[in-house]
């Protein structure tokens, strides 16, 4: 439940401050930012999206690299088995 308090006397807002906050240009900018589809915006103009894509690419490269190394590690991770086999069957 929200916290509430009763005011039986209210002070009106300062018209000067209220006037400073009123800005249709800024409002329209906000509206356009919220409604312009991403594909209509060049990538270099959106640093967040650019960084996110860069991060995804880096992670993909790392996953790919580790995927390439893992089969040989699985087959012979330390080389100990080979030595053991050689001893059993000289």
């Amino acid at each position: 439940m929200e916290k509430r308090k009763l005011h039986t006397r209210t002070t009106p807002p300062d018209p000067k401050i209220m006037g400073r906050k009123k800005d249709f240009g800024a409002f329209m900018d906000n509206y356009r930012k919220g409604t312009t589809p991403l594909y209509k915006k060049p990538l270099y103009k959106n640093p967040r999206l650019f960084l996110a894509l860069l991060l995804i690419i880096l992670v993909a490269i790392l996953v790919f690299e580790s995927g390439e190394e893992s089969p040989s590690e699985k087959q012979n991770p330390t080389g100990a088995d080979t030595v053991k086999n050689e001893k059993q069957n000289p």
Binding site: R4, K5, M18, N30, Y31
Partner: protein
């Protein structure tokens, strides 16, 4: 909030402005200019915070402009639609934020009602209890009381804002007042 009192010509002119803004968002300017201060004051009276009032006003206008395509003119002032969005935005904000919300009330109007009901003596004597009863009302019932006893709205206007008929607005408001009266009598 005297913007609700509009004659047929005003309503039709405003409907034309909305239609133009539906086709071209930049044409929303006259509606923004007309209702900015009205909405700002509405939020200010409930927050007493310039930044928050400005944010809530901007959010209300943004939501209105984004959903303007679904707006249909039904011989009602555009402001009723705006205030409905504004009240929802404010309720949503206070549900999420750990912040105290101000409930503005005009005591003169409340005293008039208490006088009609014959409980004015109790109202003066036990104002703290009455205050608690009002503050504990659910959001939709509180909105009815605020619109009636602070914004000084007619039942027609309250109905337009709450999207109910004039008669329903009257019945619902009196039901809330009756609830308060009964609770006051119980505690007397």
């Amino acid at each position: 909030m005297d913007s609700h009192h509009k004659n047929k010509e005003d309503l039709e002119r405003e409907a034309g402005e909305v239609l133009r803004a539906q086709k071209n968002p930049a044409a929303f300017a006259p509606l923004y200019e007309r209702y900015y201060e009205v909405l700002f004051r509405f939020f200010w009276n409930r927050t007493e915070d310039y930044d928050l009032s400005s944010d809530l006003t901007q959010h209300t206008f943004l939501k209105a402009l984004r959903n303007l395509g679904s707006y249909q003119f039904r011989n009602l002032p555009f402001s009723a639609w705006l205030f409905r969005i504004g009240i929802n935005e404010m309720n949503m904000y206070f549900r999420k934020a750990e912040r105290e919300r101000i409930v503005p009330l005009d005591l003169t109007l409340l005293r008039e009602w208490a006088g009609e009901e014959g409980i004015d003596g109790y109202l003066e004597k036990e104002f703290t209890r009455v205050e608690k009863l009002i503050l504990d009302l659910p959001p939709d019932q509180l909105a009815l009381i605020e619109l009636r006893f602070f914004e000084k709205k007619s039942f027609l206007e309250i109905g337009q804002i709450m999207k109910i008929s004039e008669n329903n607005a009257k019945v619902k408001t009196y039901r809330v007042l009756d609830k308060i009266r009964k609770l006051m009598e119980e505690k007397e």
